[in-house]
Amino acid sequence: MMLDAKVRRAQRRQVWAHRLGRNRLFRTLGPFVPVVLLWWIVAEAEVFPSAFFVGPDVVLSEFGELIRKGILPSYLSDSLIRLRNGVLFGLLIGIPAGFVVAMSYWARKLTWPLLMFFQAIADIAWLPIVIVWFGHSLTAVTFVIVYTIVFPLMISIVSGVEQVPRDLVRAARSLGASRFRVFTDVIAPGALPAVATGIRTGLGYGWRALIAAEIIIGASGIGFMMFDARRAGDVTHVFVGMIVLGVLWYALDALILAPFERSTIQRWGMVRTAEVAR
């Protein structure tokens, strides 16, 4: 029957569309193909002057050049080391401090308004005084990144602990768990989604602080490379820098953040309270 064949074809299409859509690689990389193509066409058609806008071919060859000269790898590793140090210290300080504030009535009462206030002072505003203290050094950058990570993390942990269902705590207590065990076995894991959210928020800010610090303090790093190129009027390096930054964040997300969230939160069937773009 004519109609029947048509229906079957439509059904097959539906299945294929679904398979394609489920393929992670296709889903994430697919959309970039037409975008890069469009970029190329716009560049080739010289819609904008080439001093302002260069095509992917130029960017790619410059990218190769920068790698060959060793500039990009060394700047990249500078940026990554700063980020790593900042994040490491940020977590080491923020996680324990967050749980202390969350668990202790007095710590909470005495620090909560301050937390709110320090969170409100945009991290970049700390750069000047930090430069006064530490000069144009690695310590200065690390300090700012630590700052950006600690506060969102602490605030997330406090709200995460608050959201642990009371019944879970009661259940654990009535099953004979000590206060300490309630913390290690119920509250800490229960607050984990919040920790993940906090790390994500903190990294989002820390990442920007890093770029800002490199632009402003500037001696090396991807941010410095971009701003230096801008001063020289070299748009190609700016493009290279932005793409490297974007890819880096993607890699960070795909290789570290997402697996961490998957292995903890989703495995336990807990859904992050809110999926929010950062």
Binding site: L3, V7, Q11, R12, Q14, V15, H18, R19
Partner: protein, 265 residues
């Protein structure tokens, strides 16, 4: 000619994971007359919701036709109002805002729609709650609002998919009685999906029984109860009990697990 006319309705879903097709609705035909209350009864998963979704225009059939007042169904339309199990009230609109929603969409002038809204709020017993938001109402009140919202639009058919399934048992009884009351005064045409036999019989003029998948109409039972109806009187009446027993047996003989259910479409 019936108000709602369903002819040889057939619906297949594609399981996009395995690529297999599932027949949700085998071959369903029946009609609902103007001002008639018809309950659709059938075992879980037999495709009741699917039929309702197709009639509402939310989904499209694989083959077969659905006509309302002689016109083929093509997408959602205010002539087919839907009362949802989950209420589906707009949380950002007040009680009044929800009731007049459909009238506003049709461009009814403000003065006129306020009069209509008052009338329907009174009908469902929600006068005085106009300024409240849905989350400030109890479950039962929310579903009354859901009914008022649809009736205010004066649809050709009101479609209800287990509308009372998410309220407690006592409220459900009360809402059922209220619904018959409303039906008796307004005489809308109602397509009511349920798998509660008592409910189906108590409310309906006729009960359409669907078989397990691939579903077809296994029987259409006319309910011999007088209107107005009340639970107390219904439970006492032999006709009610006979009809319920009859339908219960019918459904029991058709539970999944019987070989006829195996579908290899």
């Amino acid at each position: 000619m019936s108000t709602l006319e369903i002819t040889n309705l057939h619906k297949e879903f594609v399981d996009v994971y395995t690529g297999e097709t599932v027949t949700a609705v085998g071959d369903v035909s029946f009609g609902i007359e103007q001002g008639e209350f018809v309950s659709i009864l059938g075992p879980s998963g037999c495709g009741k919701t699917t039929v309702l979704n197709i009639v509402a225009g939310f989904d499209t059939q694989t083959s077969g036709t659905v006509h309302v007042d002689g016109r083929a169904v093509d997408g959602p339309s205010p002539e087919r109002g839907v009362v949802f199990q989950s209420f589906a009230l707009f949380p950002w609109k007040t009680v009044l805002g929800n009731v007049i929603f459909g009238l506003r969409m049709r461009g009814v002038p403000r003065r006129e729609r306020d009069v209509i809204a008052q009338q329907y709020l009174q009908l469902v017993g929600l006068e005085g709650f106009e300024r409240k938001f849905p989350h400030e109402l109890s479950g039962g009140m929310q579903q009354r609002l859901g009914v008022a919202r649809v009736l205010a639009n004066e649809p050709a058919v009101m479609l209800m998919d287990e509308p009372f399934a998410s309220v407690d048992a006592q409220t459900r009884r009360k809402l059922q009685e209220e619904l018959t009351g409303i039906f008796e005064t307004k005489r809308p045409t109602v397509f009511f999906v349920t798998h509660d036999v008592d409910e189906a019989v108590f409310l309906a003029d006729r009960v359409v029984v669907l078989s397990a998948r691939p579903s077809r109409v296994s029987e259409i039972v006319t309910v011999p109860l007088e209107r107005p109806r009340q639970w107390r009187a219904a439970l006492d009446s032999a006709e009610f009990r006979h009809t319920v027993t009859y339908l219960t047996d019918l459904l029991a003989g058709d539970e999944p697990g019987v070989p006829a259910d195996v579908d290899r479409a």
